[in-house]
């Protein structure tokens, strides 16, 4: 187990890249504490697999350093780093039995046979594979094979960090949730530092203590699921997390408060006034918009009934946004008025959160 | 360690190029020089051998004959195979699996077994010594191959394409020619390539079914080799010329060679 620190990592797949757009990773500074459960969340192409491969040593970064417990590991190979990696599709040695698959890395490290036996038994029991130990690996289902991949990582006691690259991609949907919770339990039991890469927010938010959200080669926010939900650092985080995501409405600033559709919107505290041509946006999650007779009026386009709640697709001055309305509340179709919860309304400049001024 | 791995393909390629080089080398030598001295390149460079081939009808006619029946065979094989492959790909019908397997077994037939019967059959049909004879005979193993390859490619085209066309009012043949065929163009290319290749290289049947009119270059060459007057230079020139069509074809499909094996059936 180790603390992994990434320092000023930049990476480009082109040998002599100059433009910013040619860099898969812009500038990453990240610390993963020993024994933590982390997630790297982001859409395809945001650079998360690149980052993963740099940590595991399959890729050497164009710039920057990788530290394992303060030892510079930037240019070492994967087998020198004691890492484990589980890939998108199951990687198993088809011709070997499950037992031999799990024992493989240990035999290569010249461990004592009876010790190997012990560890294989323990890991098989952890993963519910005991009954299948002497079956040929090729005969297992996709989730069984992924468990074998997982097992090969768990079976080594010296693993510094365990990385998952979208491991549930080929798993049947109805088995996904089961495997997800098993992974979380495994982490509690084994205590390895684990990093889970995915584009699925549910997977990330349920597995990780802290999530790093990546967008276009940068980590735009690194925080707990709560932080990401309540206080998104970046419009991308607001939009990507939550279903539906945060509403973003273009607005103007007046005296530190946003003005939308002629209405001054209340915040928890005013922000520093910016007089600029940059894009100013108002961000508020559908969950924090209340039906309020004293609020400003919006037009209702459609109401989606999801059962326990409804999503009102509304419009105001050409801007579309969603309102979350819990069960039981009446929704006036004509003349609907809403207001935004000041505690959870944020202002973004060029995508980045503007912090409120400290009370004097 | 890395040095050594680079050596293996290099040595192999040198091994492959040596006999070819030697053939080309000989083709530019006079018979005297060939029989007289041993030299790694022609000391008395001569184009005589090539000139003879291009001017002597018995020689250049051989090339023309070969190309003719090979092209004819490719056309027949691919054209017949297309509807059949479509049927195997899209429809279930009585005996379809057995028919498919029977077709494949013909690829596995020893040509030697067919030499005599073909000789009699084609003589009896009055087709002896024609392009059509060899073209038809080669269908024995080329058609199964073409069907096999085309069926693989066709199965990769979703049925929705067919259904959309019918809904849009296309008749079957119009759909087949205007829409379906372009979508498997790569497959047609691969099938035509293999038909060309196997017909071009085959000797036994081509020689058995021809005598004068449709005689392929292969037969002309073997005749020269066995008669007295070892015209090695001439033989080498003739041989070198037969390599050229193959080299051309490979050059044109160079980007598809490995990919083509991976796609379709293999």
């Amino acid at each position: 187990m180790a603390k992994v620190r990434l320092q000023q990592i930049r990476h480009s797949y082109n040998a002599d890249a100059g433009e910013k757009t040619e860099y898969a990773l812009q500038r990453i500074n990240q610390v993963w504490e020993d024994g933590g459960a982390y997630a790297l969340l982001g859409p395809s192409g945001c650079g998360k697999t690149t980052l993963l491969n740099i940590v595991s040593g399959l890729l050497h970064p164009t710039e920057g350093k990788v530290f394992f417990d303060n030892l510079d590991m930037t240019l070492t190979t994967p087998d020198q780093r004691n890492i484990a990696q589980i890939f998108q599709f199951p990687v198993v040695y088809d011709t070997m039995t499950v037992r031999d698959n799990l024992a493989f890395p240990l035999r290569n490290r010249k461990m004592e046979p009876f010790e190997i036996e012990e560890r294989v038994k323990t890991v098989a029991e952890m993963l519910d594979l005991t009954a299948l130990l002497d079956k040929r690996a090729s005969g297992l289902t996709a989730d069984g094979k992924q468990k074998i991949s997982l097992g090969r990582g768990l079976v080594r006691s010296d693993v510094n960090i365990m990385m998952f690259d979208e491991p549930l991609t080929v798993i049947d949907p109805h088995l996904k949730w089961q495997l997800r919770s098993e992974l979380k339990q495994l982490h509690r039991r084994v205590g390895f530092t684990m990093v889970y890469v995915t584009h699925d927010q549910t997977e990330a938010l349920t597995f990780a203590d802290k999530v790093a959200v990546m967008f276009e080669g940068e980590v735009v926010q690194f925080g707990t699921p709560e932080e990401l939900f309540l206080r998104p650092n970046h419009t991308f985080v607001g939009h990507f997390i939550g279903s539906p995501g945060m509403n973003l409405l273009p607005c103007e600033l007046d005296g530190g408060f946003p003005v939308f559709a002629g209405n001054r919107i209340k915040l928890a505290a005013p922000i520093t006034q910016i007089n600029t041509n940059k894009k100013i946006e108002l961000g508020v999650r559908p969950e924090f918009i209340k039906i309020d007779e004293n609020g400003f009026s919006i037009k209702v386009n459609r109401i989606d009934d999801v059962g326990r709640y409804r999503i009102v697709k509304a419009e105001c001055l050409g801007q579309n946004f969603n309102v979350y309305v819990p069960e039981g509340l009446e929704i006036p179709t004509e003349n609907l008025r809403v207001s935004f919860d000041p505690q959870h309304t944020h202002v973004y400049c060029d995508g980045w959160l503007q912090n409120e001024k400290e009370p004097a | 360690m890395k040095r050594i791995t680079w050596l293996v393909p290099t040595l192999y390629i040198i091994f492959l190029m040596l006999p070819i080089y030697w053939l080309i080398n000989m083709s530019f030598k006079t018979t005297n020089e060939i029989l007289g001295t041993f030299s790694l390149w022609p000391h008395n460079f001569t184009l005589d051998n090539y000139i003879k081939i291009f001017t002597d009808r018995t020689w250049y006619q051989g090339y023309i004959n070969s190309i003719c029946y090979v092209v004819l065979n490719t056309l027949i094989s691919v054209t017949a195979a297309l509807p059949a492959a479509y049927a195997f790909s899209r429809y279930k019908f009585l005996g379809d699996k057995h028919l498919f397997f029977w077709l494949l077994t013909n690829r596995m037939a020893p040509p030697a077994v067919f030499a005599l019967p073909f000789f009699q059959l084609y003589s009896a049909s009055g087709l002896f010594d024609t392009y059509l004879a060899v073209a038809l005979a080669h269908c024995l193993f080329n058609i199964p191959l073409a069907v096999w390859i085309l069926e693989g490619f066709m199965s990769g085209v979703p049925r929705e394409l067919d259904e959309t066309a019918y809904v849009d009012g296309y008749s079957f043949w119009r759909f087949f020619i205007k829409i379906f065929l372009p979508s498997i163009a790569a497959g047609i290319g691969v099938a035509a390539f293999f038909c060309f290749m196997f017909s071009w290289v085959e000797l036994l049947l081509a020689k058995t079914l021809t005598s004068v009119e449709a005689k392929p270059i292969a037969a002309t060459m073997t005749r020269t080799a066995s008669t007295a007057g070892y015209e090695l230079g001439l033989l080498s020139a003739a041989g070198t010329l037969t390599i050229i069509p193959g080299a051309f074809v490979i050059y044109f499909v160079r980007n598809y060679i490995a990919k083509g094996f991976a796609l379709g059936r293999v």
């Binding site: - | 006999p19 053939l23 429809y91 020893p110 030697a112 269908c139």
Partner: protein
């Protein structure tokens, strides 16, 4: 995979193919079967002889001899070409100009007419005049493929390796290219040796293409005719007379219709049987 619908009219689409192949396969085969059970003294007069020809062929020294030669030849060919082809595919560059160059050059022998292959090697291996012949003889080895059976065998085998190994290389290369990078990554993380990677990842994943390669090489080498015929004519003496060469000699050379036909059918049946075995093995592998 496509959902196939029942349609008996599909037979019309298959008709051209059936006609062309049947014309070439069924009629000649019927002729052969016919000859194999009859005796003729010329002038189209035939007498029923039953299985006499089959017995004669199966008991003939000549058939046993050429069958033996054929089996030895095919075995040697497979033992050399398959491992060699795999080894070359493993060491070839995976992409870029080098890869294309390799593939193009290696494909060349496959598109040379088979008689030219024989003629080329004939000229190449001639004792004084040919490059190979000259070099080997000047090294002190007495080499003459036109007179010595061993030299003839060595030359024919070298020629076949030269001619067909590229097919194994191309097939193996295609199989190797299909293996996803992740497997190599995982092996690296598991600290596997190069040999383990070959044995547990590459070889198993190449099973499909290798089956095809072995099948094709087995069949084609078992039916080989042109190249050895042009190179040695079956000689010196009988030493390189393989099954096809012998059959053609009997059929077209001696016009011994009965024995030739019987031998043809036995030959064909052996090939079919082996083909069926391989096909079944291959399909069973796919199903798993």
């Amino acid at each position: 995979m496509i959902e196939r619908i029942h349609n008996q009219k599909a037979w019309f689409m298959v008709l051209p193919v059936i006609l062309l192949v049947a014309f070439n396969a069924v009629i000649p085969l019927m002729t052969v079967v016919n000859y194999s059970v009859q005796e003729t003294f010329g002038n189209n007069v035939f007498f029923w002889e039953g299985l006499k020809w089959y017995e004669q062929v199966l008991h003939s020294e000549r058939f046993h001899a050429s069958m033996t030669r054929q089996i030895i030849f095919t075995s040697i060919i497979l033992l050399i070409e398959i491992p060699l082809g795999i080894a070359i595919a493993l060491t070839m560059p995976r992409k870029g100009l080098g890869a294309t160059l390799c593939l193009v050059l290696m494909s060349l022998p496959l598109l040379i007419p088979w008689n030219v292959v024989g003629a080329m090697w004939n000229i190449f291996a001639l004792p004084e005049i040919g490059f190979l012949g000259h070099v080997v003889n000047s090294m002190g080895i007495d080499y003459n493929f036109t007179q010595q059976p061993i030299s003839a065998w060595v030359t024919i085998i070298a020629m076949d390796v030269w001619h067909w190994t590229s097919l194994v290389v191309l097939l193996s290369y295609a199989g190797l290219s299909a293996i996803p990078e992740a497997f190599y990554h995982a092996a690296q993380i598991d600290t596997a040796t190069k040999w383990q990677i070959f044995r547990y990842i590459q070889l198993p994943k190449m099973k499909h293409v290798l089956t095809i390669a072995i099948l094709l090489r087995f069949m084609d080498s078992f039916m080989i005719y042109t190249e050895p015929f042009v190179l040695t004519g079956g000689g010196p003496g009988n030493s390189t007379t393989f099954l096809s060469i012998d059959l053609v000699k009997i059929a077209l050379g001696q016009f011994d219709l009965g024995p030739a036909a019987a031998m043809s059918l036995i030959y064909f049946l052996i090939v079919l049987l082996l083909c069926w075995v391989f096909y079944t093995l291959m399909m069973r592998n796919e199903a798993r």
